[in-house]
């Protein structure tokens, strides 16, 4: 009887649940371009290649447009484009790699490169055939295509944190220029933070419980850690390297970085605590400035807000902003089809030559030529000017774990302990080092 009951429970649970079969996220954001075999007008052979990326915002439409343009411009190659969120994209990539059918071109970020190279799933040989030269790219972008001295990718674009501000609200508060330093950022944000009696954050009688407009906003997720990383670099300290076995963290400098951000929220009250979507708050007139990447620009361009951008402020001794990039890689193909390999190289070359159009997505093209196009577009200049000061996270083989953006993640815990829980900065620094070291030693 007892066995029967346990068996019944097992079967019920098996019927209803799917705990062991995995829970890979439903690729709801999937976008594909189905192949058009008649593309060549019926003459000649069409080589179909797969191109995968992780775009889900307005940049997805721009890339779809580019792929369509490539498919229409020539008749020998048809690119089938698939875009999912990054995490399910890479899971799908590895699964397809195991099954022997990976895409021909895959987009990723430099910090992910190391882990995939170590897994042996990327091919560096096609890079030479693309024929790119360092002089044609920003050094920041170029540097992100290497792992352990070998080039595995073609640079596509770069992005970094910058400061967006509402020009109308600046005018109303009599502010002429965006802040360039930490002190200026605090002073400007105080002027722009207003309670329901019209008092500013630096005035006597300011009611911090009834704020109707905040001076500054920023995402309270892993991007807080990216800001901490920038502020560490502003103090001349970068504890994260490609081959680290343990994190050589300067606790005091980390604490300084955290304390600056905490003060904005808890001391000066110029940043809304627990903010979810700074860009939406900015567009709704609830925050006057916000820190984010250039990918927000298409959204702002579609709004009625009078906006402009400035580089990430220099809070400490040096200028530095967190930056990242998107790079084009060639997964290792077991079938080794020379026609597909050649087609993939042709497509990557074409994307590289047409990267100026990619600038409309908000991302800044890596090539100097593409960057010139970006310069002619509104709001890009401030980001481009901070390119030389931008700092990448290293391409460590365990980057997916140590720099993970979802819980349990050392950087997310540190970020949220800092900005949501207002914990002691030194304790946060110690905890971050402990958790990262533990993952590095596994």
């Amino acid at each position: 009887m007892r066995t029967k009951r346990w068996l019944a429970s097992f079967l019920i649970v098996m019927l209803l649940a799917l705990p062991l079969a995995g829970c890979a996220a439903d690729p709801k954001q999937k976008a594909t371009n189905s192949p058009a075999s008649a593309n060549n007008g019926g003459s000649g052979k069409v080589v179909n290649i797969d191109f995968w990326g992780g775009w889900t915002g307005p940049d997805l439409n721009t890339m779809e447009g580019l792929v369509n343009k490539f498919n229409q411009e020539q008749s020998g190659i048809h690119v089938e484009f698939t875009s999912l969120q990054w995490t399910p994209l890479f899971t799908k990539f590895l699964t397809e790699m195991k099954g022997g059918n990976p895409p021909d071109v895959l987009v990723m970020h430099p910090f992910e490169l190391g882990q995939f190279v170590e897994m042996g799933v990327l091919d560096s040989k096609p890079i030479a055939d693309v024929g790119i030269e360092t002089v044609n790219y920003s050094s920041f972008a170029w540097g992100g295509t290497f792992y352990k001295g070998e080039q595995y990718a073609v640079p596509l674009d770069v992005h970094m944190h910058g400061l967006y501000y509402n020009k109308e609200l600046y005018n109303e508060s009599g502010i002429a220029n965006p802040p360039l330093t930490g002190d200026e950022l605090i002073a400007t944000a105080q002027k722009l933070t207003i309670d329901n009696n019209g008092k500013h954050a630096d005035e006597e009688g300011f009611d911090e419980n009834n704020i109707v407009q905040y001076g500054l906003g920023f995402s309270m997720n892993h991007h807080v850690f990216y800001q901490i990383y920038a502020l560490l670099n502003q103090q001349g300290h970068n504890p994260f390297t490609e081959d680290m076995k343990a994190v050589e963290l300067d606790e005091d400098k980390m604490a300084n970085a955290i304390a600056f951000l905490q003060d904005l929220v808890f001391k000066y009250k110029v940043v809304p605590k627990g903010e979810k979507s700074p860009v939406d708050d900015f567009m709704g007139g609830k925050v006057a400035m916000f820190i984010d990447g250039p990918w927000q620009m298409p959204k702002l361009e579609d709004s009625n807000i009078q906006w402009a951008s400035a580089p990430y402020p220099k809070v400490f001794d040096k200028s530095a902003a967190w930056g990242a990039a998107e790079i084009l890689t060639f997964p290792l193909k077991k079938d080794n089809d020379p026609e597909k390999a050649k087609a993939a190289i042709e497509f990557v070359k074409w994307l590289d030559n047409n990267s100026g159009e990619w600038a409309r997505s908000g991302q800044l093209p890596s090539s100097n030529a593409g960057m010139q196009t970006a310069l002619s577009l509104e709001g890009r200049e401030a980001f481009i000017n901070s390119l030389d000061n931008s700092v990448l996270l290293p391409s460590h083989p365990k980057a997916a774990q140590i720099f993970s953006s979802t819980a349990p993640s050392p950087i997310l815990t540190a970020a949220q302990d800092a900005i949501l829980n207002n914990k002691d900065p030194h304790e946060i620094a110690k905890q971050l080092k402990k958790e990262m070291d533990s993952l590095l030693q596994e």
């Binding site: 649940a17 799917l18 062991l20 995995g22």
Partner: protein, 285 residues
């Protein structure tokens, strides 16, 4: 009779095939993968009991287990009690009862990601409508999703809101199956409404209650989508449940072996709870 059995088997065959290929097969494979060290791409290496040993020494697993059980405690009782009360109420001859029944089921029909996005707006610390009204009456603001103290409770509240209507419909179906004669006889014997509810309604609803509890257990212990959309397991690890941890381990860190062990742990927890509820309700009686 024999041919009827064959026909029935034929009707069951398509589902059984799908079940075997997409549920049972991967589950059994998951059991084997639990003994392996495997990152999807490379060859799986036999790791013995290493992944199982890690489970017991992994502080994050215990945090995720605590969160999962706390979440169950926050959602299961209201999802049973309130859905039953709603069903009893909506089983009466009331005006607009069909409209109310329909409205009640809408949250369940919405996909969890949409529910998450809607409630993210409502819960917004600074500009959300909930804190707006709380401030008007002198309470709050409450840091619904950004405080370690409140985040799990806030998601539990959304889950109860989301599943309540579905459980209510199940109870409603059960209530309509109870013969009116029983209530008539009880009335003649002088039973009060409360006595009829305790002696007739509740015992007659036992099979439905069992099903509602089992479904709720499965849905809540495996909660994923809403947490993924609303807090992503944070702040810190305050809303990290076992399935959330499983997802990160298997599909973000590519540690399939340990991810499978987390899946096995989820299965064991579910079986234990289904057992407990079946014993408490004494379904064999």
């Amino acid at each position: 009779m024999k041919s009827q059995g064959k026909v029935a088997a034929l009707f069951l065959l398509p589902y059984l095939l799908v079940f075997l290929v997409f549920r049972f097969g991967p589950s059994v494979a998951g059991l084997f993968i639990g003994f392996m060290k495997w990152n999807i791409v490379g060859d799986a290496e036999f790791a013995g009991l290493a992944n199982f040993k890690k489970l017991f020494n992994d502080p994050i697993f215990w945090v995720s287990l605590k969160n999962t059980l706390l979440f169950l405690l926050l959602t299961l009782p209201p999802l049973i009690v309130f859905s039953l009360l709603m069903a009893v109420l909506l089983n009466q001859k009331l005006r607009f009862r069909n409209a109310v029944r329909t409205i009640s089921i809408i949250p369940y029909v919405l996909i969890p990601a949409v529910v998450g996005i809607i409630w993210n707006w409502l819960y917004d610390n600074n500009f959300g409508i909930l804190n707006y009204y709380l401030k008007l009456i002198g309470l709050g603001p409450i840091e619904w999703l950004t405080s370690e103290k409140w985040a799990l409770f806030s998601i539990a509240l959304v889950t109860v809101w989301s599943y309540l209507g579905y459980n209510m419909i199940l109870y409603l179906a059960g209530l309509q199956d109870i013969s009116a004669d029983l209530y008539e006889a009880a009335k003649i014997d002088g039973a009060t409404g409360a006595q009829a509810f305790m002696r007739i309604t509740l015992p007659m609803l036992k099979p439905i209650t069992s099903m509602v509890i089992t479904l709720t257990l499965v849905n809540t212990i495996q909660i994923f989508d809403q947490i993924f959309v609303m807090t992503n397991g944070g702040p810190g690890t305050a809303t990290l449940t076992i399935v959330q941890y499983l997802y990160g381990t298997a599909f973000q860190n590519y540690n399939l072996g340990y991810g499978s062990v987390l899946g096995i742990a989820t299965l064991v927890i579910l079986i234990v709870f289904v057992q407990i509820q079946s014993r408490l309700l004494k379904l064999d009686d």
